[in-house]
């Protein structure tokens, strides 16, 4: 069985290769590489990843231009059909700008770019991305961002909490995010956006392997489906 995953590269993406390596490492199948100007996604995809980086130089707002690129129309349509979509860091920013996830990612409360490994807690272990974790499990995963300060109005935050759509939460003050939210799921559960980089934590040689189970969960969800 092959796992057909696509990694979208925008001008300024810089974690696309790491994402492709992580997907291949875990699934055994090379990820397809898709350029932002492509109008169509490859057929029969099992997984779409929007990588970290600085798409379009963060012009206007982080993720704003990428969210309106040609390929994102296809990604939005695929997400609507239930294809799993993972957005990490800039990918999370793109997902909120595209309206696939609620809220917005603002400048870090402390103004600085933050690059370090942070402690997280798994809040929802039922999703296709997180089934390989235990609820409440603590993880250490790297972050590297300037605009990771998650904002949504109180009603939206209450709804996310009530529906179990907070996937990960920071265990310490990191960037000013509302309710320490580090990752959010879509209503249907097939879209996950997160600021921490699981693809940078898939083996001990990288400094940790706590991100690996996220990719394993996605691969297993396909096998079980």
């Amino acid at each position: 069985m092959s796992f057909r995953a696509a990694v979208i590269t925008f001008p300024g993406s810089n974690c696309d290769r790491d994402m492709a390596v992580a997907l291949e490492e875990v699934s055994g199948t090379p990820a397809l590489r898709v350029w932002h100007g492509d109008h169509e996604l490859p057929e029969r995809l099992d997984f779409i990843a929007l990588p970290g980086g600085f798409s379009y130089g963060d012009y206007l707002r982080s993720g704003a231009m990428a969210a309106r690129s040609h390929i994102m129309r296809s990604v939005i349509a695929a997400a609507g059909r239930g294809v799993p979509v993972l957005g990490v860091c800039n990918g999370f920013q793109v997902l909120t700008e595209a309206g696939l996830l609620p809220g917005a990612l603002m400048r870090n409360a402390g103004q600085h770019f933050i690059c370090r490994t942070v402690p997280l807690r798994v809040e929802n272990s039922q999703s296709l991305f997180t089934a390989g974790y235990e609820a409440g499990q603590q993880l250490r995963i790297p972050i590297a961002h300037a605009d990771g300060n998650y904002f949504a109005d109180e009603a939206t935050l209450d709804r996310l909490e009530g529906e179990g759509r907070v996937a990960f939460r920071y265990l310490e003050e990191v960037n000013g995010s509302a309710r320490d939210i580090a990752g959010v799921l879509s209503e249907a559960g097939n879209v996950l956006g997160m600021m921490p980089h699981p693809e940078r934590a898939i083996e001990a040689a990288l400094g940790g392997s706590d991100g690996r189970a996220l990719f394993e969960s996605a691969v297993r969800s396909l096998v079980d489906a």
């Binding site: 909120t96 400048r107 000013g176």
Partner: protein
């Protein structure tokens, strides 16, 4: 014709950049500043066919992020 679009953070949304500017101004010795909010000014050069409705749509779809920002359109 020139159009100015003023984009600003909604009231109640914390503005880390405004706060940093506020601190910097106080660091320069300026007194009496109660608050600073930073926004964005976008100038468009448009022809007469561009309607108010089209400008509103531009703001809602791209120029402002309606989750956190308000906009004001000014025809100059």
């Amino acid at each position: 014709m020139k159009v100015r679009v003023h984009v600003s953070l909604k009231p109640g949304v914390l503005d880390p950049q405004g706060r940093a500017i506020h601190h910097a101004l106080e660091g320069l010795g300026f007194k009496g500043i109660e608050d600073v909010r930073a926004g964005r000014l976008i100038e468009l050069e448009v022809d007469s066919s561009v309607t108010d409705e089209a400008l509103e749509a531009m703001c809602r779809q791209l120029l402002a992020n309606m989750v956190i920002e308000n906009y004001r359109i000014e025809r100059v």
